[in-house]
């Protein structure tokens, strides 16, 4: 929407750029700092002190030499835990959402409207207020302090968005194909899985990516519901290093932080339009 006359330089047309750059600068500085701090022994403000080094990254190949990590779980198992957590969350969200989304889009059953209204209400509702009671629920189910419990809670919190998104995608699928399959005698479940699910692949991809990223990033749920830390995720490591206050080795901490955030940024760069399909409508915060 550039509306200035082409070919004529006007000072006024620069104003929006200048203001935008000033506004956005803090974000650029924060991320830029995170990136290059991890490659210098010490950074004061934005001034690197010393020469370029990979020392800060030695937690990857020589974790035993890092004092800060001595009493903490090693990075690779933590990464695997984080991966297991976010992938399982994404799978549960995808399966449960696409089942419910399909039923809400295609079948008529008692309580359909109520459930649909409830899903929307819950989508706007801040689930974080329910954590105290969720603690009791997990205790009663015997899932407290277990990865499975946290996966189920996280997946449940993503469900209202997931069900709504999947229902939207199923609504756009013309159902002649489905009808043909049903007429040929295939059951509803077979039809859903074989015929309709492949047609909503873009929706599954977008929702799966979103659930994966929010799972990967999750801090509060594992922090509260898995206190013993045997299946801790990367967020716990960064948080415990951060908790060491002024004595923390920030070079190392930025390297660990960058290691943790990098996959998300890479995914964001390559899958932006998929993620944006959902972020645009489903933002929390």
């Amino acid at each position: 929407m550039s509306r200035e006359t082409v070919g004529r330089f006007s000072l006024g047309s620069l104003v929006p750029y200048v203001v935008l750059v000033l506004f956005t600068l803090p974000i650029v500085i924060l991320y830029g700092w995170l990136f290059y701090s991890s490659f210098f022994p010490r950074v004061e403000g934005l001034r690197p002190v010393g020469a370029f080094t990979l020392e800060n990254w030695r937690f990857l190949w020589a974790p035993e030499t890092v004092d800060q990590l001595r009493n903490k779980p090693p990075i690779i198992p933590l990464t695997i835990n984080t991966l297991v957590f976010s992938l399982s969350t994404a799978l549960v969200v995808l399966l449960v959402s696409s089942m419910a989304g399909y039923a809400l889009s295609r079948l008529n059953f008692p309580g359909r409207r109520t459930f649909l209204g409830g899903v929307l209400l819950l989508h706007a509702f801040p689930s974080v207020t329910l954590l105290i009671a969720t603690f009791i629920v997990l205790r009663q189910l015997g899932l407290y302090d277990q990865l499975l419990g946290v996966i189920l809670v996280k997946a449940a919190f993503e469900l209202p968005l997931g069900i709504w998104i999947m229902k939207g995608f199923f609504d756009t699928v013309p159902w002649e194909l489905e009808m043909a399959a049903l007429v040929d005698g295939a059951g509803r479940i077979t039809t859903w899985w074989r015929i309709v699910m492949p047609l909503v692949r873009p929706g599954l991809l977008a929702l799966g990516l979103l659930a994966f990223v929010t799972g990967w990033n999750e801090f509060l749920l594992p922090f509260i519901f898995m206190p013993s830390g045997t299946q801790a995720t990367l967020s716990q490591l960064v948080r415990s290093m951060l908790g060491e206050g002024r004595f923390v080795d920030y070079g190392m901490l930025t390297a660990v932080g960058l290691y943790y955030v990098a996959p998300v940024i890479v995914l964001f760069v390559f899958a932006q339009e998929h993620l944006m399909k959902i972020y645009g409508g489903g933002v929390k915060g």
Partner: protein, 338 residues
């Protein structure tokens, strides 16, 4: 639900399915109980997992929060030896020594962060749609970074930016303006708390406003320019009036999110410095019931604190659903970034 294409489609779908032999069960619906059940067996199969999860992790917790708020349940009483105490917990909130302080903190935090979120979100949306589309898209992507980053990493960056001299970036940036270096997290905790939340929160408004601006017909702008309107007049007289509903929506939605959320405060000041320096209501509930310094987790009292937020959350969600037609706003892709 208003404007719900899905329901029409479902009705048509059912009608057509009945035509096929596979839908015999559905067709036999009126023949009595077993057939009725079989007619809905498929729906039951598809809905069961979602129903169970919503019941366990939304419905039950809402009821448990309200119920538990009427008890003295705590680690001291154990999860089995608790008693009903009526409205004692609520009375304790009303009479509490720190209630007013924390309520004041909360209102201040919500009001200032909300203003930041909406104004900055609006500013970025307006400006980024008035520059080259590629540049605007890039700026919006950068603003999304805080939202898609793990909260611990984002908090780490701000903690570091606010660090004491000679390290903190903030110290270095304000030095030329004659500001004495300091440990910002301790000296100006609210500034940091509001900035850290504001830079995440502004992106929501930015996305909603950007898509609203992009859906305004270009002719309106062109006509105004032909009439000689300045850029500011166009924004003031055309864009802003058309953004009234999106702005009200974002205000309502974010008010609730801000009342409920405490993750970034927990990760930076943890309610400090000192006693309740930046403690807000939701963090108070968390500290009381899930992370007490005194070792006694007070589930009952914490639930009463949380119940206030839960009831408020339900009320505001209902308003969002009814007044703003939340379903329309979440229904479709809202933005494309190039």
């Amino acid at each position: 639900m208003r404007g719900n294409n899905g329901s029409d489609m479902a009705v048509v779908g059912r009608g057509a399915a009945q035509a096929g032999p596979a839908a015999a069960a559905a067709g036999a619906r009126s023949d009595g109980q077993p057939a009725w059940w079989r007619g809905h067996a498929t729906a039951l199969f598809f809905m069961a997992p979602a129903f169970v999860m919503v019941t366990l992790f939304f419905l039950a917790p809402v009821l448990i929060t309200l119920g538990m708020s009427l008890t003295d349940m705590a680690t001291a009483t154990g999860l089995s030896r608790w008693q009903w105490v009526g409205l004692d917990n609520y009375e304790r909130i009303v009479r509490g020594r720190f209630t007013l302080l924390i309520l004041g903190n909360t209102l201040f935090y919500v009001a200032v962060t909300l203003a930041f979120n909406v104004l900055v979100g609006l500013g970025v949306a307006l400006l980024s749609t008035h520059v080259e589309p590629k540049a605007g898209g890039l700026v919006r992507s950068l603003w999304l970074l805080p939202r898609i980053s793990p909260s611990v990493v984002y908090a780490l960056m701000w903690t570091w930016a606010a660090a004491d001299a000679p390290f903190g970036v903030i110290n270095q940036l304000v030095e030329p303006f004659g500001v004495a270096p300091r440990f910002w997290l301790a000296s100006d905790p609210w500034l940091i708390v509001i900035l850290i939340n504001g830079f995440v929160g502004a992106s929501m408004g930015m996305l909603v406003f950007t898509s609203a601006i992009q859906s305004i017909p270009e002719e309106l702008f062109r006509a105004a320019r032909v009439d000689g309107a300045s850029a500011w007049q166009i924004v003031r007289r055309i864009t802003l009036p058309l953004l009234k509903w999106p702005i009200l929506f974002v205000l309502t939605y974010q008010t609730m999110s801000l009342f409920a959320s405490y993750e970034y405060i927990l990760l930076t000041t943890n309610g400090g410095p000192g006693l309740y320096g930046t403690e807000v209501w939701s963090l108070w509930a968390f500290h009381t019931a899930l992370s007490s310094y005194y070792g006694n987790l007070e589930f009952g009292f914490g639930s009463a604190l949380a119940a206030v937020l839960v009831v408020m959350g339900l009320a505001i969600s209902f308003v969002l659903l009814r007044v703003f037609r939340f379903n329309d706003l979440v229904a479709e892709p809202r933005i494309e970034i190039t």
